[in-house]
C-alpha cells in the first residue's frame, strides 16, 4: 500500500530557472545517469531523472539552482524529479536529507517519499527514514525554521510542524503529535563548507526511546 510523500513549499511567483548541481562532495558519492552508477564530480550538473547517492561516512550537497539546497546524509539516495524555474521536486528513497529553501525562491519546492504528503511552508527542514518497526519504515520530519504541514494522502489527516519541532510518521501511515525532540538538537544544518563541517553525524536511533536511559529513583 503506497502513498506519495511530498514536502511542499509553495510560493506564488516564479522568479528563476532551476538546474541541479553537485556543489559539495565528501566521501563516496555517485550519480545514476544513463542507466549506470558513476562516481560524481564536484560541479557536476544533474538533470531530471538523475539520482544521487552517498556511501558510508559520505555526504553531498546538491544546489537546486535558485530554489535552494539539499544535503544528503550518509547512505542516502535522492532522485531529481524536476528542477526548473518554478518547481524543484526531489524524491527521497533511502536515508535522510536536509532541505533549505532560499528566501528569494517563490516557486514550488518538493521533497517526496513514498508514504505521505506534506506541504512545507518553511525554509529549512530535515526528513529521513527511521526504523522499520512494522511493515514499512517510519519517516521523520523536523523543521529548523518556518513550518511544515504534513498530510496523509490516504486519510487526509494533517499536522503542522513548527520550527524546532519534529514528527514521526509511523510506518508512513500514522501521524504522531509534533513536539520537540532532544535528538534533533544534534542535527547539523550547516550547508556551507566554509562555515564548518557539513557532515551530519546524528544517530537516528536516538530518535527512539532509549530503554537503557530510563531511571525512576
Amino acid at each position: 500500500m503506497f502513498f506519495a510523500v511530498a514536502l511542499l513549499l509553495y510560493f506564488p511567483v516564479v522568479l528563476f530557472a532551476a538546474d541541479a548541481t553537485l556543489v559539495y562532495i565528501l566521501g563516496t558519492v555517485e550519480v545514476f545517469q544513463d542507466g549506470t552508477w558513476q562516481s560524481a564530480d564536484f560541479g557536476e550538473e544533474l538533470s531530471q531523472g538523475d539520482r544521487v547517492r552517498t556511501g558510508t561516512g559520505s555526504t553531498a550537497i546538491v544546489e537546486l539552482a535558485h530554489a535552494g539546497e539539499l544535503k544528503l546524509r550518509e547512505e542516502s539516495e535522492v532522485m531529481i524529479e524536476r528542477a526548473d524555474a518554478g518547481t524543484a521536486r526531489t524524491r527521497l528513497t533511502v536515508g535522510g536529507v536536509f532541505a533549505r529553501v532560499r528566501q528569494a525562491f517563490t516557486g514550488v519546492f518538493e521533497v517526496q517519499s513514498e508514504t505521505v504528503v506534506a506541504g512545507v511552508r518553511g525554509t529549512e527542514f530535515f526528513t529521513a527514514f527511521g526504523r522499520t518497526v512494522e511493515d514499512a519504515p517510519d519517516l521523520w520530519l523536523c523543521v529548523n525554521s518556518g513550518e511544515v504541514q504534513v498530510e496523509l494522502i490516504g486519510t487526509g489527516e494533517k499536522r503542522t510542524v513548527g520550527a524546532g519541532e519534529g514528527i514521526n510518521i509511523l510506518s508512513g501511515r500514522r501521524l504522531t503529535d509534533p513536539r520537540r525532540y532532544r535528538w534533533t538538537l544534534d542535527l547539523n544544518w550547516n550547508m556551507d563548507p566554509e562555515a564548518g563541517p557539513v557532515f551530519d553525524e546524528t544517530d537516528l536511533d536516538a530518535a527512539y526511546s532509549d530503554l537503557l536511559d530510563q531511571d525512576y529513583d
Partner: protein, 273 residues
C-alpha cells in the same frame, strides 16, 4: 456443717481447668516474654504505605534528580520516615550509569535506637526530628534483554554505597530488576517490573542482610514528563542487638526480623534540558 462449708468453698471444675491452663501458659511463656522484652517488637501482618515525588532533569549525559520520599509506618501508621535526595546520574557508557547523591533524612530507626527506659524496659527512640546526612554513590549497569518474549525488556543491576554521617554506618545496597516496557507508537506506555532490593551492612549489625525488599512494580507514562508508579513489597528488616541492650548484662544478644508489607505510590516528573 463441715460438709456444707466444704461445698461453699469448692471451685467449679471449669474454673479450675482455666486456672491450670493459665498457670501452665504463664510458666511456659514466662521465659519467652522475659527474653522478648529487650527485643524490638516485630508484629506480623503490618501494612505500611510509602510515597515519593521525584523530578528528573534530562540531559543527554547528565540526569540530575531531586527526590522526596516518605512512609507511614508500623501498626500505628506513624508518619515518621522522610527524606530528600539530590544529585545526578551520569551516563558513562550506553549500558552503565553512575551517580552521586546527597540525602537528608529523618525518622530512620537504626539498631541502637532501641534504647532503655527509666522503668528498666526498652523502647524505640523518637527519631522523627533527628536529621541525618548521607552521601550515596551509585553504579547501575543495565542491559536490553530483547531475547525475551516481547523484546522490550531491560535488566538493571543497581548498586549503591551509603555513608551515614550520623552514625558512620556504611551500607551496600544492591538491586537486580527486570522490567518490561509496553510500547505504543514507539514510546513507553507502561512498565511492569520485579526487583529485589538488598541492603548489606558493611560495618554494623549481626546479620549479612540488613534489609530485604522484593517487590513488584508498575509505572504508567501519563505523558513524556509525568509518570505515576505503584509498588508492592514484602520487606524484611533485621534488627541486631542495640548498644543499650548490650550494656545490660541481664539480656542476651538478639537478631529479630520485622516483616511489613509495603505499598508505595509516587509521581515522577521529568524536564528535558
Amino acid at each position: 456443717m463441715t460438709r456444707c462449708r466444704y461445698h461453699r468453698t469448692t471451685v467449679p471444675p471449669e474454673a479450675r481447668a482455666l486456672f491450670a491452663a493459665t498457670l501452665l501458659a504463664t510458666i511456659l511463656l514466662a521465659p519467652t516474654l522475659s527474653a522478648g522484652e529487650h527485643r524490638p517488637p516485630t508484629p506480623s501482618g503490618v501494612t505500611e504505605i510509602g510515597g515519593h515525588a521525584r523530578l528528573f532533569l534530562r540531559d543527554p549525559r547528565f540526569d540530575p534528580m531531586l527526590s522526596l520520599d516518605w512512609r507511614f509506618e508500623d501498626e500505628a501508621f506513624e508518619f515518621r520516615r522522610r527524606s530528600l535526595t539530590a544529585g545526578t546520574y551520569y551516563r558513562i557508557h550506553d549500558n552503565v550509569k553512575i551517580g552521586g547523591f546527597y540525602r537528608l533524612q529523618a525518622g530512620m530507626r537504626h539498631d541502637d535506637d532501641w534504647v532503655s527506659t527509666d522503668g528498666g524496659g526498652f523502647e524505640w527512640e523518637d527519631t522523627r526530628e533527628r536529621w541525618e546526612h548521607l552521601l550515596i554513590a551509585d553504579i547501575s549497569p543495565r542491559f536490553l534483554f530483547d531475547f525475551l518474549p516481547g523484546e522490550d525488556w531491560v535488566f538493571q543491576w543497581k548498586n549503591r554505597y551509603h555513608y551515614n554521617f550520623f552514625n558512620g554506618h556504611q551500607t551496600l545496597q544492591t538491586r537486580p530488576t527486570l522490567t518490561y516496557f509496553l510500547i505504543r507508537d514507539r514510546e513507553p506506555l507502561w512498565n511492569f517490573g520485579a526487583g529485589w532490593d538488598l541492603s548489606i551492612p558493611l560495618n554494623f549489625g549481626d546479620s549479612f542482610i540488613y534489609r530485604s525488599y522484593p517487590y513488584l512494580h508498575a509505572l504508567y507514562h501519563a505523558s513524556r514528563s509525568v509518570k505515576l508508579d505503584a509498588a508492592l513489597a514484602l520487606e524484611s528488616v533485621t534488627w541486631s542487638t542495640s548498644r543499650d541492650v548490650a550494656d545490660a548484662p541481664s539480656h542476651d544478644d538478639y537478631t529479630t526480623t520485622y516483616r511489613p508489607v509495603v505499598f508505595t505510590l509516587g509521581g515522577i516528573f521529568s524536564v528535558d534540558l
